[in-house]
């Protein structure tokens, strides 16, 4: 079932949690709400479910105006972050609950309920565990019971709050792929909340990026990754290097560097002249030979091998820069700490200086930049470099 949200807002006293959310989820779509904690993504999901009230706006679930419907009448399934299984009930009764509480004339018979639960247990691959209590299950099993319980009432819309948040890394990847396949097979419309960009990119048809109670950008994973409209989106979807720069005469000049980059070479950039922020992903920086044009020069500080990839930490433009590439494409013999390198940027995005939203740790470089504020260092969640 499709979901249409228009101008949805929520505020608590002075503070606002959501400001004018507009979002349309198509029938059959797997939509991710991605954002840092406090961005309002869980509130949005809970408002769709009817567990929280909106202060303003409209919510259509299918053809029905849903904001005034009680949660039980919205035809939704909700999978809670920590599953919220009924701890005193066995797996069977957990899954059967939604059927047992139906009004008498809609309630299936005992046999029908038993058959339906057996079917669902089969679907989530937990047959044989119906007599267990939630405390006797593993995290992944609990997650699947929660899913079966939500699906028992045949919802048209499935809402999932950080569905994989409490699982181990290995189980998480397996379960999310299984969930995606299940979604496609039973033709659900699903909306899930996550703070994990890899999960959103890997799983969703489209992603809505939330930041401070607003939708920053909506698009397919590829659109968002390739064409982020803001520094926030760009930084949130993966590691980036940030460079303070100045745009003048159609050229981008990194602060502390002498080599200009033609602004025309940037994706769709029609930049106003003046100070700006350039962002480059580690994989979009190439080491080039002396014959090719380069945008910056640097010195190797650290090297690490991560499987087939090589990660380098450089000092460049008075800050630390991370780059990453295939090992067999890089000449490792010339990359050692202290080696000078010339760098070219395959793809770079330039944003106005003031939108560099997510706070990054200040530069650790000992030499203070001459004509600018301290430059933020590269952001990478699993940085592991030996220097």
């Amino acid at each position: 079932m499709s979901v249409t949200i228009e101008g949805l807002a929520k505020s608590f006293g002075q503070g606002s949690v959501l400001n004018g959310i507009d979002l349309a989820v198509n029938e059959g779509e797997f939509m991710a709400l991605l954002g840092p904690s406090g961005s309002g993504k869980t509130s949005l999901l809970r408002i769709i479910a009817g567990l929280e009230m909106a202060s303003a706006g409209r919510l259509m679930i299918g053809e029905r105006d849903a904001l005034n419907l009680p949660p039980g009448e919205r035809r939704i399934g909700f999978v809670f972050q920590n599953y919220a299984l009924f701890r005193h009930m066995r797996v069977f009764d957990n899954i059967a609950f939604g059927l047992k509480v139906k009004r008498r004339r809609e309630r299936p018979s005992r046999e029908e309920i038993a058959a339906r639960v057996a079917e669902l247990l089969d679907l989530v691959q937990l047959s044989g565990l119906e007599r267990r209590f939630p405390a006797q299950l593993s995290g992944g099993q609990r997650q699947r019971v929660a899913l079966a319980r939500a699906l028992a009432v045949e919802p048209k819309l499935l809402l999932l709050d950080e569905p994989f948040g409490a699982l181990d890394a290995g189980v998480r990847v397996a379960l999310r792929e299984w969930l995606r396949a299940l979604h496609d097979r039973i033709g659900l419309t699903s909306i899930f909340v996550t703070h994990d960009q890899d999960e959103a990119l890997a799983l969703a048809d489209r992603i809505a990026i939330l930041n401070a109670g607003r939708i920053e950008q909506i698009g397919t994973p590829a659109e968002l990754y390739d064409n982020p409209v803001s520094a926030f989106t760009m930084a949130f979807l993966g590691p980036v290097n940030r460079f303070a720069c100045v745009v003048s005469d159609g050229l981008v000049r990194l602060v502390g560097e002498t080599l200009p980059v033609p602004a025309a070479s940037l994706d769709g950039s029609r930049l106003p002249e003046g100070p700006a922020m350039a962002m480059v992903r580690p994989a979009d920086i190439r080491i080039v030979g002396s014959a090719e044009p380069a945008a910056a020069r640097g010195t190797v500080r650290g090297i690490s091998v991560v499987g087939g990839r090589l990660r380098l930490r450089l000092s460049c433009a008075r800050q630390t820069v991370e780059i990453e590439g295939d090992r067999d494409r890089m000449d490792a013999s010339r990359l050692f700490p202290g080696a000078p390198v010339r760098l070219a940027f395959r793809r770079m995005r330039v944003f106005p200086r003031d939108t560099a939203a997510p706070a990054a740790p200040a530069s650790a470089e000992p030499t203070a930049p001459a004509d600018d504020a301290p430059l933020p260092q590269v952001e990478r969640r699993q940085a592991r470099f030996g220097s």
């Binding site: 009817g50 949660p71 972050q81 919220a84 948040g165």
Partner: protein, 283 residues
């Protein structure tokens, strides 16, 4: 701990011995004394003392008062704990504080308050007299005083338990289409049943054993407004030691039964309470 070294062992033994000695002097010896005094003149005298009409009346009255006060406070405690833990509202902290009031006020004073309100010279005295209603120095007064003194027990027991459990299971039931009453019966109540029983047990023990507040509003009319604790005092003051201790032994038995049930529940209740072994939430 230096549990291997001999000095450590001695220290541990000494600590345990002190704890047991202390308990023996202050708890076990008096308990034994109650029973031995009650049986000092033989089983016959014990049975006769308990068969006295006044003693029987006291037992009945105590049971009656508890039978009214305990369900009332169970209902109130459930409602208050439900409101405090599952909803946000203005005056919540005031309500939480008020629930503790009987714990911080001397029972005698709470008894006095009822006399001042409902007594012949009290605020509502003339009104009650005009309508032929009697509260103070009658059973309703005993019930009121007992309710007042025992009302924190159930609520106090349930609030931390329900706070820990949160509202997420109720929310899950709500999304699945369950009505409020059904959620309460099928989700909330089963999750708190052992805590609730435990609270009821403590409430009952106190309701039957309460002396101070009840003593003020009772008026000490033998066979009419004397509960067991009041009757024990009256017998003792009348130098009927065997009678006093015989009735006292019943209360002591009640205490023992409560204790046994309590420890049974505690074992049971800990299992129920054991939080689901969930991995920490990843944020």
């Amino acid at each position: 701990m230096a549990s291997d070294s001999s000095s450590g062992r001695v220290r541990r033994f000494a600590l345990i011995a002190v704890a047991f000695l202390y308990l023996a002097i202050f708890l076990v010896v008096p308990l034994i004394a109650v029973f031995s005094e009650a049986l000092a003149k033989g089983l016959e005298a014990y049975r006769d003392a308990l068969a006295q009409p006044d003693a029987l009346a006291a037992v009945k009255l105590t049971l009656l008062v508890a039978a009214i006060a305990v369900p009332l406070n169970t209902a109130f405690g459930l409602a208050a704990a439900w409101a405090i833990t599952k909803f946000e509202f203005a005056g919540k902290s005031l309500l939480t504080t008020l629930i503790d009031l009987p714990f911080s006020v001397s029972p005698v004073i709470s008894g006095m308050v009822y006399v001042l309100l409902f007594g012949a010279q009290g605020l509502f005295g003339p009104f009650l007299a005009a309508h032929g209603l009697k509260i103070v120095f009658a059973v309703p007064g005993l019930v009121l005083a007992t309710v007042f003194v025992t009302f924190p027990f159930v609520a106090r027991q349930l609030i931390p338990l329900m706070q820990q459990q949160g509202t997420v299971e109720e929310e899950a039931a709500l999304v699945l289409g369950a009505s409020g009453w059904r959620i309460f019966r099928k989700i909330t109540l089963p999750n708190i049943r052992w805590g609730l029983l435990y609270g009821v047990l403590l409430c009952n023990a106190r309701a039957m054993g309460e002396f101070g507040a009840v003593s003020v509003v009772s008026g000490h009319i033998r066979g009419v407004t004397e509960t067991m604790p009041l009757h024990i005092e009256a017998l003792y003051n009348g130098y009927d030691v065997v009678g006093a201790f015989s009735v006292a032994s019943l209360l002591a038995l009640l205490a023992l039964v409560t204790l046994v049930l309590k420890s049974l529940f505690e074992t049971r209740y800990r299992e129920e309470l054991a939080p689901m072994a969930q991995p920490a939430r990843v944020v």
